[in-house]
Symmetry: C2
Subunit: 139 residues, 2 copies
DNA sequence: TATTTTCATATTGGTAATATAGGAATTGTG
DNA sequence: CACAATTCCTATATTACCAATATGAAAATA
């Protein structure tokens, strides 16, 4: 029941760009130094963010990355879903899962559905902007 | 971000015993047949429940397992914590984790703490009895 | 003693996560 | 143009964990 390193780093990368750019491109080198994560590993992660159009990139000298939208437009849910895949806590709740033959009699299904909803409600309610502003999260 | 098979089966085993016993011992063989999970695998899982005193066991003929307490006294959180270990969504939130050197400056920490609390609130609020009674879970 | 059952540990096979390596393509600058 | 800085792409090594089985001992009862 863990969020992977990939997802955690992706969130940090998005926040780093949000914090350190005003529209200019930020190089991975800078991000890597600030976040103390190897460039090579970050390349893989930001590649996902880039192909998902969460960031825009500029190659060559003075190139780098910037956010595609404003920080308020990214929920943590969207970032983690892109990098980790479906966050459903059990696989039979994933969007593309085949129907479980036990589903109609499954005593535990409602519990898992509730957990799934709880998770996604929470993660979907927090944006990058909230985190940058240290907006208090009421639970 | 998945609950493991071990944890899911442990929950089903606890529910199976709750549903099929009135204080007598229920054999793993019966549980295995109802749940369609191999006895060998269940042995490992119920061993954890037994060593954690969630169930009581009786060896030999007509032996088996029964709950140590009433279904209302087991939250899903307690069962999953026993079988899966700490359910914190990132390892630096685990009870025994060493303090992270980045903690004071970590922008994301409050978000993860909120997620952790949300998860545990939910799982701690549902008992075996609730599940057996198909009590509606409001989210 | 024979049968049924729990109990304990080791081992296997598979799959995913983490991280790095090496080099190709692109772009701005002197 | 040559060069340096940078993104981009694919492959691969390593480790760790998960799921499941294997093997056999120990206990209880009739």
């Amino acid at each position: 029941m863990k969020i992977s390193t990939k997802g955690r780093y992706a969130l940090r990368v998005m926040l780093d760009i949000a914090q350190n750019s005003n529209g200019e491109f930020i190089s991975l080198r800078d991000i890597s130094q600030r976040q103390e994560v190897s460039m090579k590993y970050l390349e893989m992660i930001i590649g996902i963010l880039n192909r998902g159009n969460f960031v825009q990139s500029q190659r060559g000298k003075d190139g780098g990355y910037r956010l595609a939208k404003s920080p308020a437009d990214y929920t943590v849910l969207s970032i983690l879903t892109l990098t980790e895949g479906d966050l459903a806590p059990i696989s039979c709740l994933e969007d593309l899962a085949p129907e479980c033959p036990r589903a109609t009699d499954c005593l535990t299904l409602p519990f898992w559905q509730g957990l799934n909803k709880t998770l996604k409600n929470y993660m979907g309610s927090v944006t990058l902007e909230d985190i940058l502003n240290k907006k208090t999260i009421e639970v």
